[in-house]
Symmetry: C2
Subunit: 499 residues, 2 copies
């Protein structure tokens, strides 16, 4: 006799985590591989999650004084060359436009024609093209600061891609600011790191560590790079957002200069910061389980799905009527997160199939309503953060009155659960043997250890497939003997395997 | 003695309309030419207008049952070739990616490397890549309809570009739907044309004519193209949005097939429809005057600007205090268009300079507040749809109570003014000499005339620089003798010079 599957997603996380990730995305209809190498199609449910992320982040950017604008998709090849580290960092993975039309090929079909005088790069990031523009806008200290964000698509020609986590084209936002002083630019760098951490924890319910990147993990051209790092359920870290203090590097490369209050010509100080559709991958890996996607209510496109149950046409009319009233009541119910979005699923599908679709798609609350519930004026409720078997009857009025609290509770439960997992898999380690054992003998996680950044230690990390994730801001001043070399003055670094 | 300029924008519309257009965009800080050929930088004020357009349209798309998704930026060259008219229409103006990295050039600098096996086209429109995807999604009639919209950037390598109206890269939305029947697809095509007309008239305050395109103006690959056409102040028409009935052309090219209820394999029927940042250009040309941009309140990023007037520090504190209270009261005031967005301009600039900046940027209502106004508990108000000299004192409480009505009145005044202009410059013409005179001797406008679409008449139109804009839906059944050939059965076509 064939054994019934124990979960909706196969394989489970324990069986094969990377494959489980792909299957969750497929079952939840978030995205799929496109026919274009390395590019994905973001399907409506996945895009709705991204739209919610955009809306929340955009509000936070505006609340911190930023405005949106839009800069060209293309960057002249010569612009990239202006900042040496920058071009080094991006030259190996960029899409190059060389022609501006197609013409009939004598062998049949078409071929590129109209060669450009200078090739154009499809932006992998926009520091240079935006820097060139700021140079025109800035003359005096009165023109500063410039606080602009852009929502855009970017292309980095990755060889190994993975839905949301690493794709040739992805969607993101990139903030680019210019300031009169170093202090202001540093302050901005930290401010946006804080915004990202706030968003990750309070919207995504994904706990993060804020920290400075070690020298070899910096953004190409940055003086300092800061990041938020989260721990996924396979104990690998995900860099979920970065904020760069660019010093005067790009201001010098692009000639962003201004007359200060004393009449002296100065170079501006710039920052850039970004998060991308990679966050959707982080969301999936932080909360989802072996039954599919789990969404924190504050980012879920729908919060409640109502599933009418009926056997006859007469029942159907009566049940749907009751369900519509329930939907309207829920949509009018107060919730700290805004409007409660309700889907009434009237599709003519088997009940079990329907329920499992919504479980796999991660809708936070499911409500079943049949004739018996109506008779009792109650509803049958299940929460996505609990087992599919944990469902129970509750008076309709009580359910409507409590929906806001239920959604808040799911949001905080998901966060606490993820934080407990992260804390369980974080260890302070001062002994090299313990360090190796942590990553070799168990699932690993975050290891907090003093490190000298001595190049000789890189081989040991490489052998473990471990990288320095960041120097956490909370313990930035904490120094001690390097876990590998024993040299004094090592900084507390968070290590882990990573995406 | 130098003559004082009579208006804030030079040249005026009458003096040089195309140059006036560029100067309005510059003075209002909407956009500028970028260093990348044919691409523009959309500046924060211009982008905020586009964001408001997006928000309104997105709500209308969702209200008509559509969802958003995202498809790849790149289209394999072979995809374009699948629909013969489609490739013919776009091959001459597309950006072609041929390489995926840069390498050091022995002569210095960099050069493209890593040639792709198949060139990729930066999407000029997405029928083919989306069609390929729909073909995978659709098996049964139960999978239809698919009602998806995408907000994206597209590239068409135009030789002669103009900010917003015609740029190599532009932002747009493209709806792509697939249906089980011809009737449903036709209905969708009309529905979205109506949505565009509704948006143009009720948000942009821009009157439009809905109509069908004549055969030679159709979208490449479409069976029927419908458009909304608006008349600009120079009496040229602007095609402001299009909705295409694609029949089964793309379904056949991309193999979008399904089993119908009777179990027969069928090709789907598809539509596509789009509007772009070109609408911002239409907005500028419809309402702006010789003092700069004029914005309909429903799309203005700010509705009221408060300008504090003070001479001493003591006055400053008192005036700002009063202004902040006023701002809060205005922002809480009821308005059919939503929240009243108020800017309190505290910048340390000469009063006149400040006022003129806001006039040029098109803020609908300006309020000046000085110590004398405070003493009388009144404010000094000016409307952007009236002369800069028409300003007057009004009791503060009355102003706050009426702000919603004032904004509604500005919105409808702008629409009525534009409609009166359009109607004044529209004429029904049945005589060929009148037709030529209309476009040759006066400013022209819309000429409504019977036309046979006979190729022999194209030369006459070309000589006048006139094109057939559309066959208005309202008079679609009206036929008569062709204005040029006298042949019976001509349809009522709207002609004009056009952008």
């Amino acid at each position: 006799m064939a054994k019934a599957p124990k979960s909706a997603i196969s394989p489970t996380r324990a069986e094969n985590y990377p494959e489980w990730y792909q299957q969750v995305i497929k079952a939840a209809e978030l995205a799929e591989v496109s026919p274009v190498r390395g590019c994905m199609v973001i399907k409506p449910w996945g895009y709705a999650v991204w739209e919610n992320m955009q809306r929340a982040l955009d509000g936070m950017f505006k609340a911190t004084g930023h405005v949106n604008a839009y800069f060209p998709l293309f960057i002249p090849m010569s612009y990239l060359e202006r900042e040496a580290e920058h071009v080094e960092g991006f030259a190996k993975e960029c899409a190059v436009v060389t022609h501006h039309r197609l013409e009939p090929d004598p062998d049949g079909g078409l071929r590129p024609a109209g060669e450009l005088e200078e090739p154009l790069i499809v932006r992998p990031t926009s520091e240079t093209i935006i820097g060139e523009t700021y140079a025109k806008w800035v003359q005096s200290y009165r023109d500063l600061p410039i606080l602009i964000n852009q929502w855009a698509n970017v292309v980095r020609w990755e060889l190994r891609t993975r839905l949301f986590l690493r794709t040739a084209e992805f969607l993101w936002q990139e903030g680019h600011t210019a300031h009169a002083t170093r202090e202001e630019a540093v302050e901005e760098t930290y401010r946006m790191l804080d915004v990202y951490a706030d968003f990750a924890e309070n919207w995504m319910a994904m706990p993060v560590v804020k920290g400075e990147k070690t020298a070899d993990e910096r953004f190409p051209g940055a003086v300092d790079t800061y990041a938020i790092e989260a721990l996924m359920q396979d104990c690998k870290a995900l860099q979920a957002g970065t904020s760069h203090f660019l010093g005067q590097n790009f201001a010098k490369a692009c000639k962003i200069q201004f007359l200060d209050e004393g009449g002296t010509q100065q170079f501006a100080w710039t920052t850039s910061w970004g998060v991308s559709t990679r966050l959707v991958g982080g969301l999936v890996m932080t909360h989802s389980d072996d039954d599919g996607l789990v969404l924190p209510p504050k980012l879920a496109p729908k919060h409640v799905v109502i599933l009418p149950i009926h056997r006859s046409d007469e029942e159907r009319a009566r049940v749907l009527d009751y369900c519509r009233t329930l939907r309207d009541a829920l949509q009018a119910a107060p919730w700290s997160g805004g409007t409660v979005e309700v889907e009434l699923d009237e599709r003519d599908l088997r009940g079990g199939e329907k329920v499992w679709q919504h479980i796999k798609r991660g809708v936070p609350v499911r409500v079943e309503v049949g004739p018996r519930d109506i008779a009792a004026d109650s509803v049958f409720v299940a929460r996505r953060d609990q087992s599919p078997k944990d469902k129970g009857s509750i008076a309709r009025s009580e359910f409507v009155a409590s929906i806001g609290d239920v959604l808040d509770d799911i949001q905080s439960t998901l966060f606490e659960r993820a934080r407990a997992f992260r804390d369980e898999h974080t260890r302070t380690i001062d002994d090299p043997a313990d360090f190796e054992a942590w990553f070799r003998d168990g699932p690993g996680g975050f290891a907090s250890a003093y490190w000298s950044e001595d190049p000789s230690t890189q081989e040991r990390l490489k052998a473990l497939k471990v990288t320095a994730r960041c120097i956490p801001i909370d313990t930035a001043d904490d120094t001690g003997p390097c876990v590998f070399t024993g040299a004094a003055g090592g900084r507390r670094v968070l290590f882990s395997k990573a995406y």
